[in-house]
Symmetry: C2
DNA sequence: GGTACAAGTTGCCGTTGTCAACATCAGGAC
DNA sequence: GTCCTGATGTTGACAACGGCAACTTGTACC
């Protein structure tokens, strides 16, 4: 790949590189400049594709949501409990990219446009989650299905965070609750 | 209060100011310099009390844990379900200082000294949580009590985060699960 | 009263996010 | 083929940041 003046696919390259930093860097901070440097492009090039650093993190969050949606859809196709499969995959995803999922959970979208990419991606993920609840519990009043889906998400995210503390002490791996089991109970409203 | 060369209580002042920024600032970022400026002290003064910016955020997390412990202990003294009281207070705390609790949940203490202030504070909070579980469910095997306590924490943190998304759509307030009810079930192992 | 040490200060450095102005390329109008 | 226009990258600059070093001021203890 020759160095041409125009990179061509900078947007996806930036997102991929940023995601990689998130995965590998020690402190989990991402620097726009460092990302650009890693791609071999000038510091300001990303500004042609993102309104700023915040824009990049929002894009990353959207990426995370899309991946979650894919995970949920895959879980539905599997034989056996979709909820349990989802829980297992959520945990695996967290282990691989904890900071990305942390971003997904913590990002504040309160003031954001409901039509924005990230909010749409979140809604799709949540819809997939609702489908999984109904697969486990049968048809439900919409409000109840939403509530159970939210409970499951809260559980998966919360347990994953706890697992993130890692290591010894009162929160060591063997003393953590079984996310799959808790999620199934939540799906059934128990 | 005259401006003297020696502030005297800079450490607590810095923590309080930083916590305040966390509560009030729009983006939730804290700058060591801005904090120092707000207190009326030079940019480098805080370095006499904290090893660096990370040190400050760790101190903030410890502060958060201590507050959680106090909440848990208060919940135990109340008449009625301690778990329910805890859930209510946790939610209130989140509404007031979402970023502080986000920090508590997301901070990565994996590599940290088990004797460090923040890990000790976390253990105290968790111990208080275990006491609440036993108040609700009676005496339990230690491992089981730990698991239920962890489940409750995960639920409270997860639901609070979801609530943080705020506003309309599939995750609007009225469609969120009742944290208190879920927590009680978790405490009873149901 | 003198002195060692803690607590604050100023000066400085490299890095970062972002703005403004300029350069380069690709593709359609003629 | 030529020209022009918009999208895409580049360079240069700026203020703010985190952090180091060296200096100054106050305090507490002998």
């Amino acid at each position: 790949m020759q160095r041409t003046y125009h990179h061509g696919k900078l947007k996806v390259a930036v997102i991929a590189a940023a995601r990689d930093r998130l995965r590998t860097s020690a402190d989990g901070e991402i620097s726009l400049r460092e990302v650009a440097r890693g791609i071999g492009v000038s510091a300001n090039a990303p500004y042609r594709h993102f309104p700023g650093k915040d824009g990049l993190t929002v894009a990353l969050a959207a990426e995370g949501y899309r991946e979650l949606t894919a995970i949920a859809e895959r879980a539905l196709l599997q034989r056996g409990s979709a909820v349990a499969a989802l829980a297992a995959e959520y945990s695996r995803f967290w282990q691989e990219e904890p900071r990305l999922l942390g971003l997904v959970g913590s990002e504040n979208f309160a003031g954001r446009d409901p039509e924005s990419e990230v909010v749409l991606a979140r809604d799709e993920w949540f819809a997939a989650l609702v489908a999984i609840v109904e697969e486990e519990a049968g048809r439900l009043p919409a409000a109840e299905a939403y509530r159970r889906a939210a409970a499951i998400w809260a559980l998966l995210q919360g347990v994953a965070q706890l697992r993130g503390f890692g290591g010894r002490g009162l929160l060591s791996e063997s003393l953590l609750p079984d996310a799959a089991e808790l999620a199934r109970k939540a799906a059934r409203g128990r």
